[in-house]
């Protein structure tokens, strides 16, 4: 492996994993940087010796109890799993879904409620919006002869609705 940085080369050099040529080149490079390869190696070796001679892990205390305790916890886990399955037959097993599935459902529900309550989807008609609009005649016909016109008289400030072609006026023709 070709080291790509000073740190990597240094580590390989320290652990004696550079070939002689690379080792010599790197030590020259170190001296150019004002480092003493001998002192660097000595310091690292002393650290290694200090760590290895003083870092032995102690024996695990109460090793048998360790197993008993673990087996007890495993038994509790198994019992809880069996209980969940036994207590929730059929449809209700649905509720044994993992927490993440419940979280997803809750998010969907909240998003739906938010959409319905906060985002307006019904656009009101001009009739609903303005006090100046009113239904005068509510009638539909397919007869092409029927036509409706309005005439505004500014002098009297009135609008006249003129309907041609109807045989009769619908019962709800007038405003209440």
């Amino acid at each position: 492996m070709k080291p790509s940085s000073f740190e990597e080369t240094y580590t390989l050099w320290l652990d004696g994993q550079l070939n002689p040529v690379d080792c010599e080149n790197f030590e020259r490079q170190m001296r150019e940087r004002g480092l003493d390869p001998g002192a660097e190696r000595a310091s690292a070796n002393r650290l290694h010796r200090l760590l290895s001679e003083n870092s032995a892990a102690p024996e695990m205390k109460h090793a048998d109890f360790f197993n008993r305790q673990l087996m007890y916890r495993i038994e509790q886990e198994q019992r809880a799993d069996v209980k969940t399955e036994a207590e929730l037959p059929g449809f209700w097993r649905l509720f044994a879904l993992p927490k993440i599935a419940w979280a997803g459902l809750a998010c969907l529900l909240i998003a739906g409620v938010t959409y319905k309550t906060l985002i307006p989807t019904h656009s009101p008609s001009p009739l609903e919006q303005s006090t100046y609009f009113a239904t005068v005649v509510d009638s539909r016909t397919f007869d092409p002869k029927v036509s409706a016109n309005t005439v505004y008289d500014p002098r009297d400030n009135i609008t006249v609705l003129w309907i041609d072609g109807l045989d009769y006026l619908p019962a709800d023709y007038a405003l209440q």
Binding site: E7, N19, R46, N54, A56, A57, M71
Partner: protein
């Protein structure tokens, strides 16, 4: 790369491995069967696996947390997690490598949580910028005998120094300097590229040299 390590092997590690040999060394012939039975929910089989690996797991976690009771509890949590996930073990790696990742994830999560709660302070975020890659490790003048440290104090200083490394640096330095693994083994265990192993080792060593220089220079 030459994987042979020219440095002297760790006598304590060797001793520890010998001590553990009675119940937990490498995979034994019946291990696949025990794993298969555990995967089918046989807790007795898993109990045997635990007996085989508990000391090794405990020692490994202890090196990370430097506290016996915490290491004991974390080993419990790690083995419980392994039990819950043993069905997912497909035999693509050695069982211990798989177990190691679970134990180490539990440990690293705990160390990070402890750090977030403000109980410890990692220095290597500072160290990365403070330590010049080419910084010299200047020897200090010889100390007087009165200044020499006792074994207990030395261990306390080492514990404190290792606790000041981030979990990532702590893991590689323990695997290299204490467990004596080579770079490739560390990369496989930790799941990082070789270059990252070497880089993390460099910074972890420099940091420890800074923190422990006065200790090892008195020895």
């Amino acid at each position: 790369m030459n994987k042979s390590d020219p440095r002297p092997s760790n006598p304590h590690q060797a001793e520890s491995e010998r001590g553990n040999a009675a119940d937990e060394t490498g995979p034994l012939p019946d291990e696949p069967e025990l794993i298969a039975r555990s995967q089918q929910g046989d807790a007795t089989a898993f109990n045997e696996i635990v007996t085989r690996y508990r000391q090794r797991a405990f020692a490994m976690i202890y090196q990370m947390v430097r506290h016996e009771d915490d290491a004991w509890d974390l080993a419990q949590d790690g083995f419980l997690k392994a039990w819950k996930n043993i069905r997912h073990f497909r035999g693509q790696s050695q069982f211990f490598t798989w177990l190691y990742r679970i134990l180490m994830n539990v440990t690293i999560d705990w160390v990070r949580r402890k750090h977030v709660q403000g109980e410890t302070e990692f220095d290597d975020s500072v160290g990365l910028t403070d330590i010049e890659p080419a910084s010299a490790t200047t020897p200090r003048a010889e100390l007087q005998p009165a200044e020499r440290l006792g074994n207990k104090e030395i261990r306390a200083r080492i514990d404190s120094a290792i606790q000041r490394l981030s979990p990532d640096h702590r893991e590689v330095i323990v695997l290299r300097e204490i467990d004596g693994l080579d770079y490739q083994e560390i990369a496989d265990r930790v799941g990082i590229p070789l270059g990252s192993v070497m880089s993390r080792l460099f910074y972890a060593r420099k940091k420890l040299q800074t923190l422990l220089r006065d200790v090892y220079e008195t020895l």
